[in-house]
């Protein structure tokens, strides 16, 4: 064997072993498990055929979870990708100078904070009795809008989604700042000579030039929405009922509260397929663009 190949095997072996055992094997095993019915502490696995999947397509909680993650995805693309791009374009304005850096740092701080911390603070804001949101509504004469934001099935998922927007818009903004930095300056200079204003420059230069990042940011945001777990788990536990459940919180509940590991594996398989479809769409769009 050539020395270089031996080197390759030796040096990459630890990485390959760890990844194979803890990333790729579980992925395959999950599909396998989804055709069985078993509990966490019982070694016996009973074949279930397509039973878990039949249940999946008729389970009303799955429908709720799919609707919720779709809402999550649509609102996240609107706020994170939309607002993120606008903020990035604003922070790339030369006249801001040093201030641009300061605002960028500030806007990114929520991204690095633990979701548990953020979720607790917003749970205080949403508190029906002492929360700021209801107090603010009462203060401006909209007291009749006050409600238990996290405790009512009509509003719980929106209250949870809002918190994710607060945390993540800075992340997408940062991606766009990096993309905008690589746009040739002379494009803007030429547009300025033609008399194009800042808004026209944004739509005619910035947006088309960051097209690739728009796709990446949308895929990152949508994939994040399909797999979202922590925010709903911490703030509502998926409730009341299953009203704010996502695929991941419902999978968690199936596995660790109801001890239906096979069914949880089927839900995980659904999450996997959904994220793969989005990733493949990205590859397709990129393939066409090139």
């Amino acid at each position: 064997m050539p020395a270089r190949l031996t080197d390759l095997l030796l040096y990459t072996a630890p990485f390959l072993i760890v990844t194979a055992v803890f990333v790729f094997y579980p992925l395959v095993a999950n599909i396998w498990y989804s055709f069985y019915s078993f509990s966490a502490f019982d070694p016996v696995m009973r074949p279930a055929g397509l039973g878990n999947y039949q249940r999946l397509v008729t389970d009303p909680a799955i429908v709720t979870a799919l609707v919720n993650v779709s809402l999550y995805a649509v609102l996240s693309v609107m706020f994170q990708v939309g607002l993120g791009l606008v903020l990035a374009a604003i922070l790339s304005q030369a006249f801001l100078g040093f201030w641009a850096k300061l605002f960028r740092t500030l806007f990114f701080i929520p991204v690095v904070m633990s979701i548990t911390v953020i979720a607790f603070v917003f749970t205080f804001f949403y508190d029906p009795f002492s929360g700021l949101l209801n107090m603010a509504l009462q203060a401006v004469g909209l007291g009749h809008w006050a409600r238990a934001w996290l405790g009512e099935s009509a509003t719980a998922i929106y209250a949870v989604i809002a918190v994710s927007q607060w945390q993540s818009v800075g992340y997408v903004m940062m991606l766009f700042i990096v993309a905008i930095q690589s746009i040739p300056r002379d494009l803007y200079e030429a547009a300025e000579l033609d008399g194009a204003g800042a808004v026209a420059q944004f739509f005619h230069i910035t947006v088309p030039q960051v097209r690739e990042m728009l796709i990446v940011a949308t895929v990152v945001t949508v994939t994040g929405s399909i797999t979202v777990f922590s925010e709903p788990y911490i703030m509502t536990g998926g409730g009341p009922g299953d009203s704010s459940a996502t695929l991941a919180t419902y999978m968690y509940r199936s596995a660790f509260f109801r001890d239906e590991m096979g069914y949880a594996a089927a839900i995980a398989a659904l999450i996997f397929v959904a994220t793969m479809v989005v990733s493949l769409l990205q590859l397709r769009v990129f393939g066409k663009a090139k």
């Binding site: 270089r4 040096y11 990333v23 903020l87 740092t105 548990t116 700021l132």
Partner: protein, 281 residues
Amino acid sequence: MTSTFARHPGRLLVILVLLLHSVIVIYPLFWMITNSFKTTQQIFEASWTMPTVWVVENYVKAWQGGISAYFMNSVIVTGSTIVLTLALSSLAAFGMTRAEAGGAGRAAGLVLMACIGGMLVAPQVALVPLYKMMQALHLHDTHLALILMYTAYRLPITVLLIRAVFVTVPRDLDDSAHIDGCTSFQTLWHVYLPMSRSILLTASVLTAYHAWNEFLFAIIFIDSDRLKTVPAGLMNFRDALMTDWGVLVAGLVISAAPIVIMFILAQRYFMSGFAAGAVKG
């Protein structure tokens, strides 16, 4: 100022948007800090005011009432994850770089595929088998379980990041190290790693960020309260402190502080790492 805005009316709008968004971002942070110095009564009655009496003991009570243990657990898990992830990633990136240069490019390409494929797998998708596996390996309820999980799921992206820098190391340096009698490992240690300090720092802060904040694995693989990391431990901390809000909020500030401070100090590395991570993904 007036004349500037008269000439550039858009600038006023830009500044207004920035100020408005600043308020939205700053207010919850400001709320956290002011309320961490209040009594429960004060928070309940008027959480938007400044503290009338600054209750510094909230921090002492939070630290002694559980946060210190979670904090130390997070330090252990995060530190070990950084060391393990960087070590395994550097080795793999080095092996791939040399194979590409030495004519084993196709084999290295397969490893590259493993990296890209690994990045596409969300932990959520592998949870049930991982849970069974950790039980079978008797790793359930140990820090090692978390360290292994975090390392495994950070490896693919970290290998890609480090490899991208290793391939820029001039071949001449590698060859002359070989002529000087360096073993391949010595070449990695004395040539490649010192030339890649910046990316190693970037990879470290990114790994730290993920390990410090990770929540899903942290609640599933650790049952004992004394072994919990900060994000998972805060759940118990909250349940134990339902009547002591000021202490709870102080605990939140302590939990968020290390990573926020690290971000402000090492901002350059955070930004470049996050950007590279997303684009490569």
